[in-house]
Symmetry: C2
Subunit: 310 residues, 2 copies
Amino acid sequence: MADLPGLLRGAVADERLALARLLTAIENDAPGLRELLPQLFAAGRGGHLVGITGPPGSGKSTLVNALTDEWRRRGQRVGIVAVDPSSPYTGGAIMGDRIRMMAHAADRDVFMRSMASRGELGGIAAATWMAAAALDAAGYDPILIETVGAGQSEIEIARLAETTVVVEVPEMGDEVQAIKAGLLEVADLLVVNKGDRPGADLAARHLRAMLSTAGGRIGRKPPPIMLTTATSGEGVAALADAIEAHRSVARSPQEAPARARNQVRRALAELALRRASQHRAWDSTLQSVSDGELDPFMAAERLLGEDDMA
Amino acid sequence: MADLPGLLRGAVADERLALARLLTAIENDAPGLRELLPQLFAAGRGGHLVGITGPPGSGKSTLVNALTDEWRRRGQRVGIVAVDPSSPYTGGAIMGDRIRMMAHAADRDVFMRSMASRGELGGIAAATWMAAAALDAAGYDPILIETVGAGQSEIEIARLAETTVVVEVPEMGDEVQAIKAGLLEVADLLVVNKGDRPGADLAARHLRAMLSTAGGRIGRKPPPIMLTTATSGEGVAALADAIEAHRSVARSPQEAPARARNQVRRALAELALRRASQHRAWDSTLQSVSDGELDPFMAAERLLGEDDMA
């Protein structure tokens, strides 16, 4: 069994191997992890938690590389948690990301960790959150959480961040924009990447029009839209500035409560599932639901009850 | 305070007004609802729960109308729960659905209810589930749960169904298909609607190729792909047949356990949030998270603890 407090102390002292082993323990939900949580979060240094999400093909990973270069030029140490989607459909794109990130492999001040989804019981959101906390304790700032915005869990994970950047591609028409409404709603900053392509300005204008129409209804200011060309680096410094500027907005009394509520909601779902799955009646209760003898909400009541804990 | 057991008895006796009032009580999370649940689910008649979801512009609501016509010709009584998305971006599309469904307003054997999202604490999935149970108790079969597949909660709701139908539009290229991977994964049946448009066959072929590539990796047979033209009714009878055929698949020992697990997971999240929000330390705990003094997972532990319940 790993000495988790020891690994945490090592990570705080900037020992890469200790940090790597701590992240592995987090990914594997190692015994003792739950007991470590108070120390882990107490060790946090207030690094800026930035979520970056976007569809496959948006050039998101190239953009993350370019942003990392920019932050390194500014003397910042960059932590990256890349969440592999559980989806087999998008697995290919993510593997490409991993290979590209090797560009920073020799840089001691960039730490990248890929987290694989461990299925519904594993709690990928919780693991991602703890991994980001570990990078924070190790002094990385900003800490990027990179996801492929294809599925609900990726959006949920992006929402855990303080600043959520959604990357769009210019080729997409109106119909597609509507599909991505769920993504647009969680965006603090919208990036239209590949700014050198012909459709980019038009796509940005479309987005602006759509957001200003909807802005009144959602009762908040539409997010800024930025154009970048990740391959040439154009617009990347401005994006880094905008992300930095949003840090204080995210921590303001106007924004922080809603984010906290969402984070707690997500954590409650994870915790409830974890507790229920340890209940001694878990298997038999699932069987009853599967057989149509018990509805899921009664089942949940039974599994979250105070009695009969395993 | 409404006499909920009385309303349930009325609904079971096919009194439309009682059913309507019961659904309102469910939507409003009326006092006594929780106590009614065992009776509500015990009154179920085993109606087929069918989720239909798809992006705005897919012609989904026209398709639901055409399916309803088909089932009525077959002598079935059709219950429909239409979930209004919380998204302000897609609100317009849904309002259009409501107006179109007026086509069946005079038919006593079609009961449609629109459920508005009541925000994160309200538990729209729980309310949708209970509404479907009420329609089941009133003898409707199938019971459709209709959502706009734009956001995570809509996908989650669709997944509660026994048979999930995902409606696609033929115009979309490869890039878009990848975005919708999350939707494709929950599909038991895939429909390419507007089959008379030039791109429809090509879109169906694209989908088939993509699914057969991914099929081995997800370890299950790719869902059937069907072409429909909802406006002319072409392909609608075949779709109704396919939905009916999936009923026994969904209830088989091969499929039922996974669905049950997902349903219980969703119910656990709802219940945990409901309990936590009744905890007397709810406000102060959220404040601590908002102030950065407490992480969300410690907060969840505190709020789901057995002590200090309000």
